[in-house]
């Protein structure tokens, strides 16, 4: 049986990052940053040297543009799939008629399918969406 995603998250919640070894914790405690007055003596000349180096280097040629997920020109959306990721209870409020309404916040991932202008396989782009929804609250 394939466990649903909330069971996966429940499984993940039962494990926690292992505590650092005692020797490492001791090393980190000793590494506490002190007020760096000594560093100021070197900061100005270092900054000047860095500035000169940057000036000599000049403007960099345009770096190869790496495509970002979903960044494709001239595309037509052809479909979408919505995945509900999180639901959280925001509490109860009164509407304009003074009736109680429960508000829940939902977080979705919308996967939008685009048809590339030059043909080929549809391309998928994920977008995060948040919506606050009212849920009626029966009063007895």
């Amino acid at each position: 049986m394939i466990p649903p995603e909330d069971d996966i998250e429940a499984l993940l919640a039962r494990i926690a990052p292992a505590p650092p070894p005692a020797a490492l914790m001791e090393r980190l405690r000793k590494a506490r940053p002190r007020k760096g007055r000594r560093l100021l003596r070197f900061a100005v000349p270092l900054a000047a040297a860095a500035g000169l180096a940057l000036a000599w280097l000049g403007p960099q040629p345009d770096a190869m543009r790496h495509p970002v997920d979903g960044e494709i020109p001239a595309r037509q959306p052809i479909g979408s799939v919505q995945h509900l990721m999180e639901v959280s209870d925001l509490g109860v409020v009164l509407d304009q008629d003074r009736r109680p309404v429960r508000l829940i916040r939902t977080r979705w991932i919308d996967e939008i399918l685009y048809a590339p202008s030059g043909g080929g396989e549809p391309v998928k782009e994920g977008r995060l969406r948040e919506e606050v929804l009212p849920v009626s609250l029966p009063v007895y």
Binding site: I2, P4, L11, P17, P20, M25, D69, M85, G126
Partner: protein
């Protein structure tokens, strides 16, 4: 207000485990992870002049790990050092599940594992995960979902 020593030690006690987990995933050896961790914690603390935001620390760890990987030519040495130490702790009852999950986590693509770690154990929002990894928030959320799906499929075959 806590003395500086106490504040630093308290912050370490509260957070070192999750930062170490991420450092271990970003580096190839225990020694590299510990070095990157120490340098990142100190740098982040200095930049924030005190307790830094978790997102800043994670971003610093990632940047330093990438820099270390580029500058070092110790790849073969690092790969030899890759040990079998457990990255997660759990109670005895869940030990088998923890070992299984840890094994499957290591098999995830790096991009998905990073997002899952930052979101789940790092305690970051999707927006913070996106900023830490320099990716769009939607991509962060997609990778998180894909990671859970991949774990679901691999655990379905591994679980009785």
């Amino acid at each position: 207000m806590a003395a500086p020593d106490q504040d630093w030690n308290a912050w370490l006690a509260e957070n070192a485990a999750r930062f170490l987990l991420f450092a271990r995933q970003q580096t190839r050896s225990r020694h590299d992870a510990e070095d990157v961790l120490q340098e990142s914690l100190v740098e982040s603390w200095r930049r924030a002049a005190g307790r830094p935001e978790a997102a800043l620390v994670f971003a610093t760890i990632r940047r330093r790990a990438i820099d270390l990987g580029r500058s070092s030519d110790r790849r073969a040495h690092r790969e030899k050092e890759c040990g079998n130490e457990a990255h997660f702790a759990t109670c005895e009852r869940d030990r088998e599940a923890a070992e299984l999950l840890e094994r499957e986590l290591h098999r995830l693509p790096v991009a998905q594992r990073e997002v899952l770690t930052l979101k789940f154990w790092g305690g970051l929002t999707f927006a913070q995960v996106a900023e830490t990894l320099d990716i769009p928030p939607g991509t962060a959320a997609s990778r998180y979902r894909l990671a859970l799906e991949a774990l679901r499929e691999s655990l379905a075959t591994a679980l009785p």
